[in-house]
Amino acid sequence: MAEESFLTDDFLRQLMNVGEVDILVGLPTHNNAKTVGSIVHTIQTGILRGFPRARAVIINADGGSRDGTPELVTGVSIDDARPASNLYALRTLHSISTKYANSSQPSNKVAFRTILAAAELLRAKACVVMSPESANVEPEWLSKLLGPIYHDDFDLVTPTYSRHKFEGLLITNLLYPMTRALYGVRIRETYSPEFGFSGRLGTQFLGQNIWTDATNGTGVELRFTLAAITGKFRICQSFLGEKIQIERRSADLVPALRQTVGALFSALEPDFPVWSVVAGSEPTLTNEADHGVLLEPLRINRKRLREMFSTGVAELESVFQSILSPATLAELQQIARLRDEDFRYPTELWVRTVYEFAASYQKSVISRDHIIQALAPLFRGKALTFLTENRNASAEEIENNIEGLCREFERLKPYLLQIWKSSE
């Protein structure tokens, strides 16, 4: 149940006017005026094409935009597209907006909580969160993310995409293999800005005690996926095709690590009874292709990655002494001294590194945020190795390499359990 102070009276009034819905589309925004209009239009088109009879609402949770984003969301009319698209809305298609903060700092957590609260109050059957920063949203995405919930009673639909082979390295080198090894479920995109979920999963997650806990606040999308896994909800994946971000933020590794790896590490402690007894992993039902790989050449500053790794290993030695075992640290220091052309971060070492970070995070050997920050240079080293090893690899070879990494995470899981228990 939403807290009284959490939703504004105006927002409640708007929800009251919408009433019960079959489909709810959540759209978290913050200064997305350039793109949000076309995305809302795409969402409306997707609803009318895929669910023409459903009662639907678009809920915009805005983090204090100053560029008129909310007005654009509520101002888009499906009638604008009717002559071209030959679409016809049987029903009133609501778009409502609420500002959840006056600051310029958006919060995925607050936005998502707002969307979940709306979904519960409107008794939405099937919900989807869409990103205002995806440049190529297609109307069919709505059907692909909502359809399995609306028609087939699934609870969570995560997307898979066609990605460039060097895009999403954090996913392919850490998040996917680690969640797969620990939770036993092969979900390719454990945190995505687009995903579908059932009203019952939303309600269950809304009731969890994570909303007021500042340390657990980030990475809410990943926490949501993990909640679906641990709650034994029905999960599937839908292939959406190529995904193009509006802008790349390659420099934002640490915030990304906080949102994803931090969230994953945080979840491990409460989820220990679940993941500690899991062995191996099971594939997740996927609609259409499992995923796709694009192979176009890409310019990457490998030298910079190498420097950041070596500098990090040297400068953070004292931090690593708290986090890593002496053997792991020694091996890291050893590869840091390798010549550039010989540099390689071995798979087993990478998995041990990640597991030791996870255990140290649980033990809070130092500030948890510092632990996450310290992982950044090491991840860059791993990313460089991945880039080097797969420079000329085919899609199949890359997939085999990722699969090998996943198996290594699974093989070494007893090591994580060992150091986890020893810390207890």
Partner: protein, 546 residues
């Protein structure tokens, strides 16, 4: 009670549609007749109706329920005589009830002497009274209306060895309105009944009077010329009489049938009716406000005619494919309930016999701009029989009492023109006039109340409409206004209780008087006017500045 003598009487009227065959049988032959109908006029007067629209009662082979006329100037012998009709007409007028009859002008029966002469030889003087052709390829832009039964608009006549044109059943050849003799003859038919005292005609299938190559043969300018000529002659010789158009068309295509107030007085608003059902099922006002938004202004002397159900299928011609599919799935789950492009069911079964929904739909019928038409039996919630073919399932005998044959006839049940409804829910023993009259809160007594409330003001018949668009889309709210008189109508289309805030600032200072109970509601102020409404509830408020 004298007749309402105002020229625009049809704008204030409530019309009751009935087939004489279905209402009451006075001579025990199993078929309703004019003497039987005459004997039930007190019932109709009590119901509060102002006009009776009679379906065709002329001599006919009855292959299309009388819409296949074999003689325009007589009464089918099973219904009585011309004298019986005259007596009925007189009795109706004595009760202040006008009589509207059918003018099936587009076509005749193939048994009509005109057609028999026309087909007899190519040289017959009446040959050109119908549309003949040596090929069946002319006018191929015209759609086929009765898709379930007809494959072509042309039928082969083995006698004259040529094709004749028919827009409806093949036994209903179309008259040729390019022939001045046909137009003159049709005026003579009208004059015959007008001189007897008939108050109005419902002109059947008017868009199809004239055919032209390269068109869809609907709504042609030449058709309007024919109709305008009839109207001119009507006004000259019989002022105060009325013409009602049956033209199942989109509002924009219907508009020309009003002309400049010199063609039809009234026309059915076909597209609105299915959207009322759709809005109710969707729990969303959008279909209703959308179609009324698309409805053009009509001359001040003209009027829309509104209905919930009639003798035909609930037509879905004037909806989109998406809407039609939705309507079929929502209201006709069994294929047997579907006919042509429509649903052959009565009001009560369509609404799952839910009294609240029946009242709400009647409330909208009575309060939206136009003249409401009640289909016989719907005032008591009669059911249908989808096992009867064509549209006969909604044309079963009127249920007057729990006696044999529902009090409709003393004939043996097997001799009735159609079996009376007998199922446990809608059967005559459960649903009948006598039983409902004895129950204070019955549907028929509620119908009498609402007709009375509607007639307590001219605003519903003649007033303007302004939609309010509260954020709650389940609420259909509008203001009807005539001069200084204003009525606020609020309908909850939802099956659940709703709260709604109405922007009534324009009426600040007015108090609201609920028109059924006459209770006073709070005065309108600066803040949005908050109403809470039960499932399918509706309010009519008179706005009064006191």
């Amino acid at each position: 009670m004298p007749l309402n003598r105002t020229a625009l009487w049809y704008k204030d009227a409530i019309i009751y549609q009935v087939h004489v065959r279905t209402f009451h049988d006075s001579n025990g032959d199993g078929i309703g007749d004019f003497q039987g109908l005459n004997g039930k006029l007190d019932y109709l007067q009590e119901l509060g109706i102002d006009a009776i629209w009679l379906m065709p009662f002329f001599p006919s082979p009855l292959r299309d329920d009388g819409y296949d006329i074999a003689d325009y100037n007589a009464v089918h012998p099973t219904y009585g005589t011309l004298d019986d009709f005259r007596k009925f007409l007189e009795s109706a007028h004595e009760r202040g009830i006008r009589v509207i009859i059918e003018l099936v002008s587009n076509h005749t029966s193939d048994q009509h002497p005109w057609f028999q002469e026309s087909r007899s030889s190519r040289d017959n003087p009446r040959r050109d009274w119908y549309v003949w052709s040596d090929t069946d390829t002319r006018y191929n832009g015209a759609r086929i209306i009765f898709l379930d039964t007809e494959k072509s608009n042309w039928a082969w006549d083995p006698i004259s060895k040529s094709f004749y044109w028919h827009r409806f059943f093949s036994h209903q050849p179309d008259l040729n309105y390019d022939n001045p003799a046909v137009r003159e003859q049709m005026w003579e038919v009208m004059k015959f009944w007008l001189e007897m005292g008939v108050d109005a005609f419902r002109l059947d299938a008017v868009p199809y009077l004239v055919e032209r190559e390269g068109t869809n043969c609907e709504n042609l300018p030449e058709t309007h010329e024919v109709l305008k000529e009839l109207r001119r002659r009507l006004d000259e010789s019989f002022p105060g009489r009325m013409l009602l158009a049956e033209a199942n068309q989109w509002p924009a295509d219907l508009r020309p049938y009003f002309g400049d107030g010199d063609e039809f007085h009234m026309a059915f608003h076909f597209p609105l009716m299915p959207r009322m059902f759709m809005g109710l099922k969707l729990e969303d006002r959008k279909p209703i406000t959308e179609i009324l938004h698309q409805t053009p202004e009509i001359p001040s002397s003209c009027q829309w005619s509104l209905f919930l159900r009639n003798h035909d299928e609930l037509t879905l011609e004037m909806v989109t494919d998406v809407e039609r599919d939705y309507m079929y799935d929502s209201y006709a789950e069994s294929k047997m309930m579907r006919l042509n492009l429509g649903i052959r069911r009565r009001l009560a079964p369509l609404l799952a016999n839910d009294r609240r929904r029946i009242e709400l739909m009647n409330g909208m019928l009575m309060s939206l701009p136009g003249t409401p038409i009640i289909y016989y039996g719907d005032e008591i919630g009669m059911g249908d029989n989808i096992n009867l073919g064509d549209r006969n399932g909604v044309r079963t005998p009127m249920q007057w009492s729990g006696e044999t044959n529902g009090g409709f006839s003393t004939a043996p049940p097997e001799r009735l023109y159609a079996p009376i409804i007998q199922d446990p829910v809608y059967g005559y023993q459960a649903v009948n006039v006598l039983r409902q009259k004895a129950s204070e809160h019955s549907l028929i007594n509620w119908m009498r109340t609402i007709t009375g409330v509607r007639k307590s003001t001219g605003v519903f018949g003649r007033g303007s409409i302004e939609f309010l668009y509260p954020a709650n889309h389940r609420i259909l709210a509008f203001i009807r206004q005539l001069g200084n008189e204003a009525v606020l109508v609020v309908n909850n289309l939802s099956s659940s209780a709703q709260a709604v805030e109405l922007d009534l600032r324009r009426y600040k200072g007015n108090i609201l008087i609920e028109m059924f109970g006459k209770n006073i509601f709070p005065r309108v102020g600066d803040l949005p006017y908050l109403l809470t409404m039960g499932p399918y509830q509706f309010y009519w408020f008179r706005l009064r500045r006191i």
